[in-house]
């Protein structure tokens, strides 16, 4: 599936919707999009991920990269509306507290994720 990005400018910054696969071929393209965020210093960027149908190691690595980048660029990146594949990989890798966003798990998906670790911020 082709990567697709929808951008909506808000008062605080921008809201972005991504659809498609968060895997190497698409990340190459998304990387170009994210380069455009650089001038959004001090702004809030909300990244909606409910359209992500597939994500692998390169995909979660990309999200970790973006989060770290946004911190060093003094931006506020928050991930929102995580799709089940995204939730599952964040659960497996214990990255929930790293991103620090609110997680909403649909009732029908409650058996698919456990959140045994990585959900608590450690000092």
């Amino acid at each position: 599936m082709e990567p697709n990005q929808t951008i909506q400018i808000t008062k605080e910054g921008m809201e972005i919707q991504w659809d498609g696969y968060l895997t190497v071929p698409f990340i190459k393209e998304w990387l170009n999009y994210t380069n455009q965020w650089e001038n959004q210093k001090g702004k809030k960027i909300i990244l909606h991920l409910n359209g992500i149908e597939r994500i692998d190691t390169s995909g979660i690595q990309f999200l970790v990269f973006l989060k770290k980048q946004s911190q060093s660029n003094q931006q506020f990146l928050s991930l929102s509306n995580h799709s089940l594949p995204v939730l599952k990989i964040m659960d497996l890798l214990g990255l929930v507290s790293f991103f620090g966003d609110r997680i909403k798990v649909k009732k029908e998906h409650s058996n698919e994720v456990e959140f045994r670790y990585g959900t608590r911020k450690l000092s």
Binding site: V24, I27, K28, L31, N35, D56, T57, S58, I60, Q61, F62, V64, F65, K68, Q69, I89, L92, L93, G94, L95, F98, R116, Y117, G118, L122
Partner: protein
């Protein structure tokens, strides 16, 4: 990955550890071992057990397990060190050495296993003496070792620690998995997370930490590269192999280290050295994934600090109640260890075959450059000549550096004789001590390896026939303890190794009479000691009145002689009645490349080892008439020989102008008459083909720059051959 390489590394590592263990155990005979010693022995056995376990060498693992239990009780002072343990632990070390080498070959007989059991049975009384019998499961074992490792606590604290530890490992199926996929793993079509996900099918991931330390700057970020790593606390009832199998497909494309349940803080410190992240960062990660609790996190940090500085932490010393003086002595001890450690950290292990290959190539380069230099020398281009000189100088440096790669201190092999002497002393009921000197003297590893047998033979001879029994020594006014001394030093481009004893010496008369009796000596005893002692190297020669199962002076010395000869070395004997004997081995530094002096007779070329050449002189007409084969040099008469008389040489049509090369062999001088002196020549020794193996006076050959072959003169054996021929002439005249 080639498994044989890993097994080789295991063999080498085990050998080093066992040697260290033996050296410490031998020291315990004179003074009780300190904590450092006991820890070192424990670590040696523990490491071997760990590696053997990885390869599935069950016999080694089950044997070391019991030995490890005993050592663990010793180092934690549950039991005290009893002198008789030295003997048992030495036996255990020998058996372990055997198990390690044989199990890798896949052949352990039941007989040998039951022999191991006998050693373990000897340990039992000591193990049973402990308040609580040792646990036999690896998990409990690890709890013990962790508890003992945290030796900064007093007994009551230890108890608390044990409980804490047990609580922490309530689930004793906890594996630690360190997983670092290679950067190019995506291009191999592999998704590392899918392997982690698969772990869930064989157990439970208790906790996982994603390592993102190596994510690069935006400009360097490449989505095709993997920068993440993972530390996993994984619980499973499956065995290590099953857990490892999860990563089978990615094994070649990642760094993977799986510790099965029972790993210790020390293991974590070892692992932290292999991982790219900082030790403290890793400690925090392991704390976060509940591998380490607060207490063991501190122990981990102390261990890191201790290894880095070589100084145990202050809490360790205080809680041990160690006095200041002791602390200071420990500090000094640790500082010396630190020096060793810093040396270790700059040392890498390289397959000796690779170094041999390098030296061979450098050798070829030396020959080619010598050829090039010869051609350039003939040209008039001064720039070219200058450049060629620079290349030669650099090449000489490279040659020396590459040769040094293969050099090892002889001390490593001297060490093993302390065990031989200890065992022989017990067997022969003699009190013997070993003194070594010049342990740091370096020698080609190949020579050191080949020296092992002859040296062992000489040491055994010295113990058995050289040294007297204690009562006899007292009668002769000597100390009841006999001494065997091994000395190594450099002399004129050679390495000299001496095996000396302070025993009763060799009786010249006895040797000569025995020689006459055997029909290998004739007439009256010559004045020269050397002539007499040479008989000792005759096959089957022995002056021993009794044949013991250890040795007989003379028996087997012919083998020693041949071994030394095959190394292009020589052997001589010095002995003073009632004061002892000295066997002096003279060996070349290396077998590969020598500095030679190129000479020619007719159209044939010869190379004389440079370190033996003293000077070159014109051989005048007067000397040519000298039928006694002696040359007068500044008032001294020096024996000489003509190479032309010994080797068939093509004759030049011109009447040759002769020169004499004065050579030194040990403390003697001799002359070799040649026709042309061609100067210094670096040469690579090519071994002679098997057809020429028995040719005397030649130690090898070399290809010259112009493609011609030059024979390398083996000076000692050439002169020996001359003496033999002269003697034969003499006896035939008499006859």
């Amino acid at each position: 990955m080639d498994l044989s390489e890993v097994i080789d590394a295991y063999l080498v590592e085990s050998d080093e550890l066992l040697r260290e263990m033996e050296a410490i155990l031998l020291r315990t005979e004179s003074s009780l071992p300190d904590d450092e010693d006991l820890n070192a022995i424990f670590r040696a056995v523990h490491t071997i057990k760990g590696t053997a376990g990885m390869f599935g060498y069950e016999s080694t693992v089950s044997f070391t397990h019991v030995v490890e239990n005993l050592l663990d009780e010793l180092r934690s002072h549950v039991i005290a060190f009893h002198p008789s343990l030295t003997e048992i632990l030495l036996k255990a070390k020998d058996h372990l050495s055997f198990l390690v080498s044989e199990e890798t070959k896949g052949k352990i007989s039941n007989e040998k296993i039951s022999f191991g059991q006998l050693i373990l049975d000897e340990m039992k009384p000591f193990l049973q003496s402990s308040a609580s019998p040792p646990k036999t499961t690896p998990q409990n074992d690890a709890i013990q070792s962790r508890t003992h490792h945290d030796s900064n606590l007093n007994d009551s604290q230890n108890e608390v620690t044990t409980n804490l530890q047990r609580k922490q490992l309530g689930d004793t199926t906890s594996y630690l998995i360190s997983f670092r996929p290679n950067q190019n793993v995506f291009s191999q079509g592999l998704d590392p997370i899918s392997f982690i996900g698969y772990l869930k099918k064989i157990g439970t991931i208790l906790s996982l930490k994603t390592i993102d330390q190596f994510l690069p700057d935006p400009r360097e970020f490449d989505p095709e590269n993997c920068y993440l790593g993972f530390e996993i606390n994984f619980s499973s009832k499956e065995n290590l192999e099953t857990v490892q199998n999860v990563f089978n497909f990615i094994e070649a494309d990642c760094f993977l280290h799986i510790y099965p349940p029972g790993f210790t803080v020390e293991d974590l410190v070892d692992l932290s050295n292999q991982l790219p992240e900082e030790e403290i960062y890793l400690g925090n990660v392991w704390k976060e994934i509940q591998i380490l609790d607060d207490k063991f996190f501190l122990t981990y940090l102390e261990e890191i600090k201790s290894r880095k500085t070589g100084i145990p932490s202050s809490t360790f010393l205080v809680s041990q109640g160690i006095h200041k003086e002791e602390s200071e002595s420990k500090l000094t001890h640790h500082n010396s260890d630190q020096i060793k450690d810093s040396h270790k950290s700059t040392t890498i292990k390289v397959d000796s075959k690779r170094i041999d290959n390098l030296i061979n190539r450098v050798g070829e380069l030396v020959v080619s450059c010598a050829n090039m230099n010869q051609l350039i020398g003939d040209s008039d281009d001064s720039n070219l000549q200058e450049s060629s000189l620079i290349v030669m100088r650099l090449l000489n440096e490279v040659r020396e550096i590459s040769l040094k790669l293969r050099m090892v201190p002889i001390g490593e092999s001297f060490q093993k004789y302390s065990r031989i002497i200890r065992d022989l002393g017990k067997e022969l009921k003699k009190d013997i001590r070993l003194i070594t000197e010049g342990d740091e003297t370096e020698l080609d590893r190949n020579i050191v390896e080949k020296l092992s047998d002859p040296l062992t033979h000489l040491v055994r001879n010295a113990c058995d026939h050289g040294l007297e029994l204690p009562e006899e020594r007292k009668k002769n006014g000597k100390d009841h303890q006999g001494t065997v001394k091994l000395t190594a030093y450099h002399e004129a481009g050679n390495v000299i190794i001496e095996v000396a004893d302070d025993g009763n010496g060799i009786s010249k008369e006895k040797v000569w009479n025995k020689g006459v009796e055997k029909g290998i000596a004739f007439g009256e005893m010559p004045d020269s000691d050397e002539e007499v002692y040479k008989l000792l190297f005759h096959p089957g020669f022995s002056t021993a009145s009794q044949i013991t199962n250890v040795s007989g002076r003379g028996v087997g010395l012919d083998v020693v002689y041949k071994n030394i000869e095959s190394l292009r070395g020589s052997i001589s004997i010095k002995s003073i009645p009632n004061q002892g004997s000295r066997f002096i081995l003279r060996l070349p530094l290396t077998l590969a490349i020598i500095e030679g002096f190129l000479v020619a007779v007719g159209k044939s070329h010869f190379i004389i080892p440079m370190e033996m050449v003293l000077e070159c002189l014109h051989f005048s007409e007067d000397h040519k008439t000298d039928s006694n084969q002696f040359f007068a040099l500044r008032g001294n008469l020096i024996p000489f020989l003509r190479l032309r008389d010994y080797y068939p040489c093509d004759v030049d049509s011109e009447q040759p102008r002769e020169n004499i090369v004065i050579v030194r062999n040990g403390d003697k001088k001799a002359g070799i008459v040649v026709e042309k002196l061609l100067g210094e020549y670096q040469t690579v020794i090519k071994p002679m083909g098997s057809v020429f193996r028995h040719v005397k006076g030649v130690s090898g050959s070399s290809i010259l720059g112009d493609g011609n072959v030059a024979l390398i003169i083996d000076v000692p054996s050439l002169f020996e051959r001359t003496i033999t021929l002269e003697n034969q002439k003499l006896y035939s005249h008499r006859g």
